[in-house]
């Protein structure tokens, strides 16, 4: 998995930071998901290596404009891309009416199937590769955080053990790896557990919407490989952050520490802070959570393999 930040500003775009959007690359065939789609997200995609026909799911955290207004244009532009398959859009109740209204006004028609899912807290999507869970956060309007967990993958084959047991390479290796016990031509039984290491747990990425510090933020970030958390304000502005339903960078660090996350990347940074101020903000809270970084637009990072 790889995370690409497309927009890292709060409220409005600046010359260097666009309003919020985060892409999650799923590793194969450049497939990706989007979390939020502020105005200009499709423009950021045009300037990146990501192609709209490889976008399979969109998750909207909440319906504030800086997370939402890029959606109608992105959805209609996707029709221009060859091979654009069905798209699922997840978001808080109200998102369907918004899309319906924008499309009705502009008489927009899509050349692909759009499936809009108005979510409630819980497991909102499951497939062979991933599970996606959503929990409500604490913001001025209803807002969700998302937790994406890869399914565990089978452990490594112990090639030395297989050689010792005389298992010929080929289809039997696959069976053992998938957890099946086998019998060889000479009748010898080999149990999968003997020759396959323990399953490798999937990675977890938590991408949260706007929020003040809350228990659900900790739940979503629990032991996460990467926690993406907002940090609208600098440490010391906690009162203001709370009043507006936001977090400071110290709040975000505290959540990451409490959750036992491995890495914290903060985004959704107020336009009042320039690059230097952001660097200072991060340094100030390394005592709370050392493995913290601030995202900037087009920042890409791999989620380390377990």
């Amino acid at each position: 998995m790889r995370i690409v930040f497309l927009g890292t500003s709060a409220g409005r775009p600046t010359k260097t930071r666009n309003v919020t959007s985060v892409a999650l690359l799923l590793g194969r065939h450049n497939r990706f998901w989007l979390f939020d789609a502020g105005e200009g997200t499709q423009h950021r995609l045009l300037a990146s290596k990501l192609k709209l026909n490889k976008l399979e799911r969109i998750f909207i955290t909440h319906l504030h404009g800086d997370h939402l207004y890029g959606l109608p244009g992105l959805l209609t532009s996707r029709s221009y891309f060859e091979g654009a398959g069905p798209l699922r859009l997840f978001g808080p109740p109200g998102i369907r009416e918004y899309i319906d209204c924008a499309f009705k006004t502009s008489e927009a028609h899509l050349d692909y199937e759009l499936d809009i899912v108005e979510i409630e807290a819980g497991t909102i999507a499951e497939d062979e590769g991933h599970k996606v869970e959503a929990l409500e956060l604490e913001h001025r309007i209803r807002c969700f955080g998302y937790r994406v967990t890869e399914r565990p993958v089978p452990g490594q084959l112990d090639l030395a053990a297989l050689a010792r047991l005389g298992v010929p390479s080929g289809p039997l290796f696959g069976k053992l790896k998938r957890g099946e016990d086998i019998s060889m031509a000479d009748g010898t039984a080999v149990r999968s557990a003997e020759v396959v290491g323990p399953p490798i747990p999937g990675r977890t990425v938590a991408i949260l919407g706007d929020t003040t510090p809350c228990a659900n933020a900790v739940m979503l970030g629990k032991d996460a490989d990467v926690l993406v958390h907002e940090a609208t304000f600098a440490a010391g502005m906690e009162e203001k952050a709370l009043a507006y339903g936001h977090s400071t960078v110290r709040d975000a660090a505290g959540i990451a520490a409490e959750a036992g996350a491995k890495r914290l990347i903060v985004t959704h940074i107020s336009s009042r802070f320039d690059d230097e101020a952001v660097a200072r903000m991060i340094d100030e809270v390394k005592d709370v959570f050392p493995n913290i970084e601030a995202a900037e637009d087009f920042y890409e990072t791999d989620v380390a393999k377990n």
Copy 2:
């Protein structure tokens, strides 16, 4: 007056052209108006010298997404700019419902007064400086073109004649210039017409929405100093253009010639054409209307003084 092209693409943004928006600078204090606001118009403004608090009016030609989807974000971002006064938004019926829906969904509030005017054909705005007229064009949905005319300004004072007549410089010059006849201290009468040249006619700029060639396009462009006309397709694609409610560059040139416009600037160019193709498209129709140019994003041009 000065025209700044902020977006010159049709349908969707490309790496170099954003979707449609044109700014008209009114000459003093960097005040400007916008015509259309495709997604990312506020980003184009950020990259230009234009500031949202100097934006006084927006005119939307029609409600297709590539002319409209930038509006909610631009309007909400304008609240961040100090000294942002009232804003008037003109557009086809339906624009109010669109804005209401976007703002309701996102719980947006503006820090300034927004006056939405759903227009019909005719004179839609008049002030000391300008008159704005709108006429319907022929597109797939209801679409308007706008014609902005400066008020005539008083002619030049004939300083030689004033000296000969013995008029002392000062307040009397102003009265004469404003068209008033005067009497001097010694009782000599001086008529304004004797010492002031003919009024200088105001300039006219016509900015049209998407359209197939039609009589109203000619009316709007009549003797215009600058006609801004769409040219979605290249010459030879007239049948396709007609089917989609658009014009070719040859159609646009024909309208400019018929209207007797002084200059034609084409915009809203399909993303299929690269810079080289656009240059070729223009060359091909110079026989129809020689004073033609293609706009590109950030192209700025003065409207020559009369």
